[in-house]
């Protein structure tokens, strides 16, 4: 066979065998869910990991003492590793205690690290002491947990951290000891008390009912000391932050940080070891919120069945949105968001386009428990409290000048719920009927208010020129500048001259610390589903000027608001709490420390083979509830991805047809 024939045969073979399937053929028909990660995971250490990206993994691997009901909204806590959600117990001196009782005979995943506790040991029981150990890790300054401030309400928490740091500093050799011994020698945390192997009491210096939510997050999941000691990165061993020891339904089967992470079933999960318990977090729920049955989330085929359904979860690092979305369209990812560039093709008038519907996709919209807002520095003499009524009217006028519907249309394809108050949908206290009188778009009223404030036509009487204000942003990107320009233009219509001062994020934070800013823009995404987690952003005690690093960047301080907040934060959900939230909202609507913009809304697309996916908004362990139909997925992938080979042949023939005459002519002329 001539060389040319070999080349042609090779080309044909390559084209026959070419495929765009990014997964091995052996995965066809397996119950594997494929998901994309927008970047590499920094850490899987539960004490440190805080981003949504990391929680996508840690939430499946770390089982917590409590968890959220999968379907119910507003969110409801149910027992996880604990037998019950503990009620608060009042103690003398204003202290409050919570007693968690862990289920007996629960075990960690199999792992060689447990040999440190006894030769040949590959696992051991999950103990209350492991939760205490994790709380001490959060306190440990060397761990660098970002949630350390929250837990300072535990009696003796800060003192423990201080003792630990001092002994490490002053005693030679102290820091070389095993980490659990260091904690023991530092005396432990006074407010974390163990009663036997399975009971853990947490004593708080003050009432803080929201603490229970933190026990539904991986931060407080039990961690065995053996894992932290063994996985130290030496002698070829992994680091603990890359080698979590699972207590949850899945364990890490492969960790290639920069390309893929594979989770496989944990055969030691308490739901697998003790199916007879039918613990709430180990079976598919039988009740949810109104409308769940219609959405297929209470399918009788699943209700009451033991979890999990999937054999594996695969996360692939996919940094670019467009390839990710295209792979979703080809069926290689089971779910996806919608890229801006394809939005109009996918969503038509708020619904899934006929083209996408014909492919069996579903569009699910979720309002995230978040709020994005423009804030005023209330310490500023022009826009803040020192300016008195004049400043308040200025803030009210500026609030009325912002057309948030237009803003959403331009910058987010109309996605998002226009915010009327800091409390977003899905959080107790949100009132869908409530309309903030200063959050409608009313330029005429805005002008009138500006006139009343003494800035007639936006002119500052002191200078005779348009009132000059500055808008600080901690982002120099063009997109952010454009969004801010939208607001600046709206205020320009009132005659105000607002300049944009764009710096990098840390310079901006520095300005915030120094108090040298007037108007800013920020957002907050809930850590836990409680109105306290939003309204504390305007609590006087949280003012950044008073407490550097605290989140009340507007420096809003109102004694009436603070008093209502202090009462509201400790109350259980009920009419009294709702009434207090309403009164606080009324103060905010008049004082206008913020111009509330949107509660962000995400649009997610799911292929028809995916079952039971109810978007949560919060980072929750949803992987164990999800199922899929692998046969349907294989069929669809095959139908959607047949290679089209004729262009290769056409190109080859065209190339030959163009070149050959030239060669022939060349040789003929030479002869």
């Amino acid at each position: 066979m001539s060389l040319r024939r070999w080349a042609l045969a090779g080309l044909c073979l390559a084209l026959v065998h070419c495929t765009n399937n990014p997964y091995p053929e052996s995965d066809e028909g397996a119950r594997v869910r494929y998901q994309a990660l927008s970047g590499p995971i920094k850490t899987l250490d539960p004490a440190v990991s805080y981003s949504t990206l990391e929680h996508a993994i840690t939430a499946q691997v770390y089982e917590t003492l409590l968890e959220y009901h999968y379907l119910k909204r507003p969110y409801e806590l149910i027992p996880g590793l604990a037998l019950a959600v503990p009620p608060p117990r009042r103690s003398p001196g204003g202290r409050v205690a919570y007693a968690f009782e862990l289920r007996p005979d629960m075990r960690y995943q199999q792992d060689p690290c447990f040999a440190l506790g006894g030769e040949g040991r590959t696992t051991r029981e999950i103990l209350a002491a492991d939760v205490a150990f994790e709380l001490m890790r959060i306190a440990d300054p060397e761990v660098g947990s970002p949630v350390v401030t929250t837990f300072t309400k535990i009696v003796g928490f800060s003192e423990f951290a201080q003792r630990l740091a001092e002994r490490r500093e002053s005693e030679p050799g102290f820091a070389d000891q095993r980490i659990d011994r260091q904690y023991a020698l530092a005396g432990g945390i006074e407010g974390v008390r163990l009663h036997g192997d399975h009971e853990l009491e947490i004593v708080l210096t003050e009432p803080y009912p929201q603490l229970l939510y933190w026990f539904a997050m991986p931060f407080t999941a039990p961690v065995p000391w053996e894992a932290v000691v063994f996985y130290d990165g030496n002698d070829g061993r992994d680091f603990f932050r890359e080698h979590p020891i699972s207590t949850g339904p899945f364990e890490i089967a492969e960790f290639s940080k920069h390309s893929r992470i594979v989770l496989a079933r944990n055969q030691n999960w308490y739901g697998v070891l003790h199916p007879e318990w039918r613990a709430p977090g180990t079976i598919y729920p039988s009740e949810g919120e109104v409308g769940d049955a219609e959405q297929g989330w209470l399918d009788p085929d699943y209700v009451g069945r033991p979890l999990p359904f999937l054999d594996r979860m695969e996360f692939r690092v996919e940094k670019e949105d467009i390839p990710l979305f295209n792979k979703f369209l080809q069926g290689y990812y089971d779910a996806s968001g919608i890229v801006m560039e394809s939005f109009d093709k996918v969503v038509v008038e708020g619904r899934l386009s006929p083209e996408m519907s014909a492919r069996g996709m579903r569009l699910v919209k979720t309002v995230e428990p978040s709020v994005f807002y423009i804030g005023f520095n209330m310490h500023d003499p022009v826009v803040g409290t020192p300016g008195g009524v004049r400043s308040r009217k200025l803030r009210q006028a500026m609030s009325l000048a912002i057309d948030v519907e237009e803003y959403k249309r331009i910058f987010s394809n109309g996605r998002g719920v226009s915010a009327q108050s800091p409390v977003p949908p899905g959080i107790y206290g949100y009132d869908p009927e409530y309309r903030n009188p200063y959050r409608s778009y009313d330029p005429e009223r805005a002008r009138a208010l500006l006139d009343e404030a003494g800035y007639v036509g936006g002119i500052d009487p002191q200078t005779g020129r348009p009132l000059k204000l500055s808008y600080d942003i901690g982002d120099t990107s063009t997109r952010t500048r454009l969004t801010v320009q939208f607001f600046v233009d709206a205020w320009k219509q009132l005659g105000l001259d607002v300049t944009i001062d764009a710096t990098n994020y840390n310079r901006f934070r520095e300005k915030v610390r120094e108090g040298s800013y007037q108007i800013f823009q920020w957002g907050w995404i809930a850590d836990y589903p409680d109105p306290e987690n939003f309204l504390f952003l305007l609590w006087g005690e949280m003012a950044t000027a008073k407490n550097p690093g605290a989140p009340n960047t507007a420096n809003f301080s109102d004694p009436r608001f603070d008093e209502l907040f202090l009462e509201m934060k400790d109350l259980p959900n009920g009419p009294r709490r709702r009434a207090l939230i309403r009164r606080m909202t009324t103060i905010l609507e008049r004082e206008r420390p913020w111009i509330e913009l949107v509660h962000r809304e995400s649009y997610a697309l799911y292929h028809e083979w995916l079952r039971n996916v109810k978007p949560a908004g919060l980072s929750l362990p949803t992987g164990k509830y999800v199922d899929l139909e692998p046969e349907l997925r294989s069929e669809q992938r095959l139908a959607w991805n047949r290679p089209i080979t004729w262009p290769a042949y056409a190109l080859a023939i065209a190339g030959v047809a163009v070149v050959i005459p030239g060669i022939v002519t060349f040789f003929r002329e030479r002869q």
């Binding site: 084209l15 070419c18 495929t19 765009n20 399937n21 990014p22 997964y23 091995p24 053929e25 970047g39 590499p40 920094k42 850490t43 805080y50 981003s51 300054p141 060397e142 660098g144 947990s145 970002p146 350390v148 401030t149 990165g233 680091f239 932050r241 890359e242 940080k257 920069h258 390309s259 893929r260 692939r316 690092v317 996919e318 940094k319 670019e320 467009i322 390839p323 990710l324 295209n326 792979k327 080809q330 290689y332 990098n504 994020y505 840390n506 934070r509 520095e510 550097p548 690093g549 047949r642 290679p643 089209i644 080979t645 262009p647 163009v658 070149v659 030239g662 060669i663 002519t665 060349f666």
Partner: protein, 313 residues
Amino acid sequence: MLAYVIRRSAYGVLTILGVLGLLFVLFFVYAEPIDMAQRALGDKAPPEVLEQWIANHGYDRPVAEQLTDHYRRMLTFDFGRSDADDAPISRRLREGAGPSLSFTLPTFVLGLPLGIALSLFVAYFRDTYIDRAGVVLAVLAMSVSVLLYIIGGQFLLGKLLHWFPISGFDSSPGVILRFLALPVLIGIAGGVGSDVRFYRTVFVEETNRDYVRTARAKGCGDGRIMARHVLRNAMIPILTRVVVAIPFLFTGSLLIESFFGIPGLGAMTVEAIHGNDFSTLRVMVYIGALSFVGFQILTDIAYTLVDPRVRLS
């Protein structure tokens, strides 16, 4: 020659020391440690945790101490840990080198002969429409941004024709080739235009020389003239171009790796830029500078091997 090599090496050492000094000023004097801490820990990290991070990473030490440590670490190849995730940088280099080389080596090994072969082909048919079309296509190919090749390739060959996965990487033996095919193809397409343009000029210049006319007069075949005489005499410019490209095989391709999700050293560099991970970035720049200087010296030595007329002094 030894004296020349020693002198060049000494210049190289000075260059490297200068690069290291510049890196220190740019990354660790000009940059604010608080920015790095914020990037590493996220927006919600409280100030005391940021301070602790700065202390843990040694950015609160006096500048002189940091400078000494910087030189000591780099010169002893003790690269330390990443600012982004505390992972040892040397481990990340080891992990990233494989994926980078698995893409850059085939691109280089296939692209170089292809470029040379095409250049010989168009040079042989010089002044015909094949030559002119070749030159036009080469200029067109080198004028188009790699980004367009990437997006166009992903769209056409991945999305529309379903020949290759749009992106991704899996080093398992059964599937690695399907992930590398498209990036390699794009890497070759992105480089072949300038190769053909450059090598063609070299070959055309050589074919006009007397020795070619003499060989032809003596009855030497065209194929033999091009492959043995012209190619051999054009080795110096080829060598210069090839050796300059070799260091980049190790450092990977920033764009292609990022767009295709290849977890190589190019993608690592991009991540480090995005994440203010200056510890990683300085290592990448240092390695790039080191290999560039090293290969420059090797190029000079190689000249003497391919052309006996060259003497280093």
